[in-house]
């Protein structure tokens, strides 16, 4: 299991190097900085050092146990990220694709609403609005109960 919380960019190819030996299916997901306003220059991600690592490790451990994963990786960046830059990635390796897909969706749902990150839009004139959490994202967690 690989968990990395870091400001630096990462290469998906290096995350996947040697990943999931013996698996029958690997699913990867990458989240990129999207310009929702048409005026965004970057996204600033604040986080809670210490709790972030703990929360992400907890989420990943529950996913690994629930779907009996062979391997799992979560990389999540913080700091100032340009539009189009990768924010985060997950990779799951399982014997069959159904488990790999489900575990990746579970990871994404929980990382969105339970990992202590806060996004703020940076426009041409500097810091703008904090991104509000969506009630849909919170509701999405109920399907895993």
């Amino acid at each position: 299991m690989l968990i990395r919380i870091q400001p630096e960019p990462f290469e998906m190819s290096s995350v996947l190097d040697g990943f999931g030996q013996g698996a029958g299916a690997i699913v990867t997901f990458s989240g990129l900085v999207r310009d929702d306003t048409g005026q965004m220059v970057a996204l600033e991600l604040e986080h809670y050092p210490g709790m972030t690592e703990k929360a992400v490790t907890g989420i990943a451990s529950r996913a690994a146990a629930r779907w009996n994963l062979i391997d799992l990786a979560v990389i999540h960046r913080h700091g100032r990220l340009s539009v189009g830059a990768p924010i985060m990635a997950v990779a799951t390796a399982a014997r069959h694709r159904a488990e790999a897909f489900a575990a990746a969706e579970y990871l994404m749902d929980y990382l969105k609403s339970r990992a202590p990150f806060w996004k703020r839009e940076i426009g041409p004139n500097g810091p703008g609005a904090w991104v509000a959490a969506k009630s849909d994202d919170e509701d999405a967690l109920a399907r895993w109960d």
């Binding site: 989240g31 604040e46 809670y48 210490g50 709790m51 703990k54 929360a55 999540h76 924010i87 985060m88 994404m108 990382l111 969105k112 609403s113 339970r114 990992a115 202590p116 990150f117 806060w118 996004k119 703020r120 904090w130 991104v131 509000a132 959490a133 919170e138």
Partner: protein, 83 residues
């Protein structure tokens, strides 16, 4: 009892500090929140609406009735927007 209190995102901006050490006799998160709100309008503006933010005690997400007698670090922050 002295506690480290951390603030993040717009809560941090409204209060004007990322972190402080607070002396409290409160037994629950709710009691601590009431003590902070009574300080001044900056705290009241940040912390009055309990539906608008979350709390973690020693880096675990908890509800406002959580007991804090043995807590070391309490954090207040908006709903998370990771992923």
């Amino acid at each position: 009892m002295k506690l480290d209190i951390l603030y993040f995102a717009w809560i941090r901006e409204r209060i004007g500090e990322p972190k402080e050490r607070v002396e409290t006799g409160a037994s629950t998160v709710r009691g601590l929140v009431n003590q902070l709100i009574a300080r001044n309008e900056r705290y009241a503006a940040a912390l009055s609406d309990l539906n608008s933010y979350r709390v973690a005690v020693d880096q675990e997400l908890v509800d406002f009735d959580h007991r804090i007698e043995h807590a070391r670090e309490i954090a207040f922050f908006p709903p998370m927007t990771g992923g």
